[in-house]
Symmetry: C2
Subunit: 305 residues, 2 copies
DNA sequence: GGCTGCCCAAGGTCTGACCTAGGAGTGTGA
DNA sequence: TCACACTCCTAGGTCAGACCTTGGGCAGCC
């Protein structure tokens, strides 16, 4: 069986024209190199050197092999170099999970933070929705993520809360936000909710459903849209009200719904922002980096309230 | 230390998403593959797979490694393929030594013979002069050769005579070739001799010198030229006479010296055409091929006389 | 909750990669 | 021409590691 070690010995021997010289250069005893060459000759099925009194002389078959040996060793070196660079976060890809709305107020800054410290890397922020991200984590396709969880609990996952974000009621009608919104009023509201695809599992809705269960009603939305931006824009046009995280309010309301206002729910409701990864997993440097930077960003944004 | 074996296991695991699957595909037990992956991870200094309940999932570092691993294994395969093809005489170079005049009457045909049987190979017929070729052989740069030797004898070389070629006297003056030329007449002749560079060691001259030693004279040439063609042409113009192998007479006289004639020496003198290679050397298929074909050609040409 | 499938860990065998020591051949210099 | 220097090979011994089998733990599925 062919091996890189044999090729290394072959090249050294070829260049020195001598097994002893090659052995010295490689730091081995001469018989060791001799053995490798013999093994290589057996592997390729042809004599590579003529043993001629003083030293050895490559055959034409050796001439043929040499460029291929160099290419092979070069490719192996390159592989090692590339992987080490990736492991040191000099190149390669950093993949991190993040749910849709969190990405709205921390995503771009987080990516900027990473790129500043590690200019060579690619960054992938994956996941539109918390539960989707959660699933990727369970399957191991994702190492760690920042997600919004209504209740902090899991068995196979380690969930580390880093901040909480209040869910607030937004509306273009000043009367709707003149005082905190109770469960009763919420049940009657005409709402637009984002993340249509994942409606049933969306974290915000789970919170709302739990709130409304006390009144014996089911939460109903009048409009379903895919992204929060659209939802906020619809609120701005006065077509519906919505419930969104407080952080998103600061980020989107001035731009997309300048006339709208907001108020708390009563009782106040919160999404918990947490770092999640598989239990018993040792985290890679890349994951640790992302967790640290994401936490800093989220905490800085949410502790102002 | 990185090894091809590790890369093979890595790729199989990557593709199957499972150590067991990779082990089955490679024909190993699962713990063996597991061990290789662990060794590879240690070698590159990064985790390549997350062990996640059912199966394993490649990390982004593994994504980075994969194309390099494929390139490396591909290059190794290519190396093996190229060398095996060269060893089977499908590609690569065949190098064979041949002295100047022999090449004149067998060279082109010999090359044609080789190319007909092995269309993919390159052919190198090296050596202008017998002694030069002999030296290349001693140094191992050449595996085997057909050379002209005045006397068949050597210590470190195996010399196998395959034919002999008579040395004949050629002249444009019919009177000079009307009867066999004795040593006495030869000593007085005005001669043109080829292979000026190697004058002292040229095989033909050694024969002549030995012949003339009996008369107590030294051979003297009036003209020295590099190649036999020029010598024959000068003979054709009547500027000098010469002594050349009989085979060359048939080949060159009609074309380069149409008016010239030839006669034997008295006593007759011969160059021995022999296959030479280092003693105790096992010959490669390429060398055996060249020896066989060259012998056939030379024998076919010389046995007519 | 049992079953299956997958991984790791432990322990044993055997190949092969390495060493040292000694013998044979060749080229060089006295 | 002889001895020395240099190269290669062979022989025999050590040790790492590549492979195996067996058994245990954990996740996902019926």
């Amino acid at each position: 069986m062919l091996s890189l070690h044999q090729l290394r010995c072959f090249l050294a021997t070829f260049e020195h024209g001598s097994l002893t010289g090659a052995a010295d250069a490689l730091g081995y005893a001469q018989p060791s190199v001799s053995e490798q060459i013999r093994a290589l000759e057996k592997a390729v099925g042809a004599q590579l050197f003529r043993r001629v009194g003083r030293g050895v002389v490559p055959t034409t078959v050796a001439d043929e092999l040499r460029p291929h040996a160099e290419r092979t060793l070069g490719a192996a070196d390159e592989a090692l170099r590339a992987v080490r660079a990736a492991a040191r976060l000099e190149t390669g890809t950093i993949r991190f999970g993040m749910f849709g709305t969190a990405r709205l107020y921390a995503g771009a800054d987080l990516v900027a933070d990473v790129l500043e410290r590690h200019p060579g890397v690619r960054v992938e922020l994956v996941g539109q929705n918390s539960t989707e991200v959660f699933d990727e984590l369970r399957r191991g396709r994702l190492e760690a993520a920042m997600i919004a969880v209504p209740s902090v609990s899991s068995d196979a996952m380690t969930v580390t809360p880093v901040a909480r974000d209040e869910l607030v009621y937004v509306s273009a009608d000043p009367e709707h936000v003149s005082s905190p919104v109770t469960a009763h009023r919420l049940a009657q509201a005409s709402l637009v909710m984002a993340e249509a695809t994942w409606a049933a599992e969306d974290s915000t809705r789970i919170v709302l459903r739990r709130m409304l269960q006390e009144t014996g009603r089911n939460p109903r939305s009048r409009i379903e849209v895919e992204d929060v931006e659209t939802a906020v824009e619809l609120v701005g046009r006065g077509l519906a009200d919505s419930v969104i995280p407080r952080g998103v309010v600061d980020q989107l309301l001035p731009r997309l719904a300048p006339g709208a206002g907001w108020t708390s729910l009563r009782p106040r409701q919160y999404d918990t922002l947490a770092i999640v990864h598989r239990a018993n997993a040792t985290l890679s440097p890349a994951a640790r980096l992302m967790i640290e930077l994401a936490t800093q960003r989220i905490v800085a944004l949410t502790e102002r309230y």
